[in-house]
Symmetry: C2
Subunit: 289 residues, 2 copies
């Protein structure tokens, strides 16, 4: 079964937990709305790619870790879109969750998706009890305090913010956890997997900044120019478009170089180079030349 | 070390995670504000009382389970108080978190406390890896879908609500999990522990309804009459004051009767009777006579 099929199947089973008899129907509907139809699923794909590179001998745990990370990502998007943060009207090309279901259900669907990530991990722990704690720690730390995505978002409530800390926590942390949890679920040592994920996460964040600065609302499926509109740090503003593109290339190269010796080292490095090319569409490269 | 000391020490260590160097300072402050000074801590006390009754041979896991449940309870209070739900101005006798720190930090502090509960469990898993999964599942299911506290809160977004389902999910579920997680962390079988917790949770909810209907804002440390103001189900409205008091007594008796054979069975039954008397202050009993 390919990675995308494994991810969608695990996410579907997880969200079906919510749709069980007796669950408030609108909450279940809101959770499904937040998770489907699928986005790029880059974090869970990274998790499964690393698990595969490390042998993937307990794939149900890797599947749960990958899906848990995607659920946490979806939850953070729902809460980030709330009126008290971005007040975004659209997401993935459709009305944002609070626009479609109201603010109370947006808060609750986000909360329920966070918890669902851990409910899912709990259920797969029995395939490798001694690995559950380390995987759980990798996933939890990437979302919570002191340096996870919630901490990253909270920098918007402080008087000043360091761009690299903000991006590392808001985006890099979940990528770092995806790589680390993939390795840990396959019983591999932590090694430099966190670094691989961090560099890739920063690359994705820079790519996202470039899109926000350059693309149209329609192409993004959400409002463009949000960073400028909210006075948020953006790599294009900081480094210029050419500088941002060079930064993206360097980060992807560093990620590939940090892949430690493992059964699938070369294949994973190839996948990272391929992904970096996808993130650097020719028209942006041409625009910056 | 007594239970309250163990609970406060574990909660302090957990919240100190947030105050580590590099965490957004206002987020760390908001999380501490939500957890301290202490409320009654009834849920973690129940968890440790059940763990003690079952032998408590892995007390670091029981401590983490108890504190995790309290962190989740605190998170739910912070989110329930938000303007889109109760819009409560006070909580535990001080301004509610969104009044003191603003709505963005109230959303984020709630999110971070939910995640912190699981970060804490991850850290204590190594003392008994094979028990971590079951404890994690008991804790996660009591908060998430389909029947945890988030699901309970979401019934407020549905056109109609069954009083007993609403109360079971909003309050009973975390009590059930406290009892169950206490037993599981001590390696005891699940047996009827969930039922013990459910009955106690329902008893506390009825006591809370009585307080909301009868007490003053000052005595409660939060606004009284909230259920009537928000058109929410309340046991006093449904059964009358006398009926609610009889219901509370019956629930406590059922909880005591459901305690399964275990080393500390009699002591725990005594504790439950004592707690039920504390919940039934003479003046309410007299008022209903």
């Amino acid at each position: 079964m390919d990675a995308v099929t494994r991810i969608e199947r695990t996410l579907t089973e997880a969200v079906d937990l919510a749709a069980q008899r007796g669950c408030p129907p609108r909450l279940a509907e809101a959770m499904r709305y937040a998770v489907f139809p699928r986005g790029a699923r880059v974090r869970p794909r990274l998790c499964l790619a690393v698990a595969a590179a490390c042998g993937d001998d307990r794939s149900p745990l890797a599947d749960s870790a990958a899906a848990a990370i995607e659920l946490l990502h979806c939850a953070s998007l729902v809460h980030d879109d709330l009126p008290c943060f971005d007040d975004a009207a659209t997401r993935r090309g459709k009305p944002s969750l609070h626009v479609a279901f109201g603010e109370p259900l947006a808060v609750l669907a986000g909360d329920a998706l966070i918890v669902l990530a851990f409910q899912l991990l709990a259920r797969s722990g029995r395939v490798a009890p001694e690995r559950l704690g380390p995987v759980l720690m990798a996933v939890g730390d990437s979302v919570g305090v002191p340096h996870g995505i919630v901490a990253g978002q909270a920098w918007e409530c402080e008087p000043s913010t360091d761009l690299s800390v903000y991006q590392q926590e808001k985006t890099g942390s979940l990528f770092a956890s995806a790589a680390l949890a993939g390795a840990l679920s396959a019983g591999a040592p932590a090694a430099t997997w966190q670094l691989v994920g961090e560099r890739l996460g920063e690359a994705y964040q820079v790519a996202d900044d470039i899109s926000d600065a350059v693309a149209s609302d329609e192409a993004l499926g959400k409002p463009a120019g949000q960073d400028a509109a909210h006075g948020r740090p953006n790599a294009v503003e900081t480094f210029g478009l050419g500088g941002a593109l060079r930064r993206l290339e360097r980060l992807a190269a560093e990620a590939a170089a940090a892949v430690p010796p493992c059964p699938g080292q070369a294949a994973l490095q190839g996948l990272i180079r391929q992904e970096a090319e996808r993130l650097l569409p020719k028209r942006f490269t041409a625009a910056a030349a």
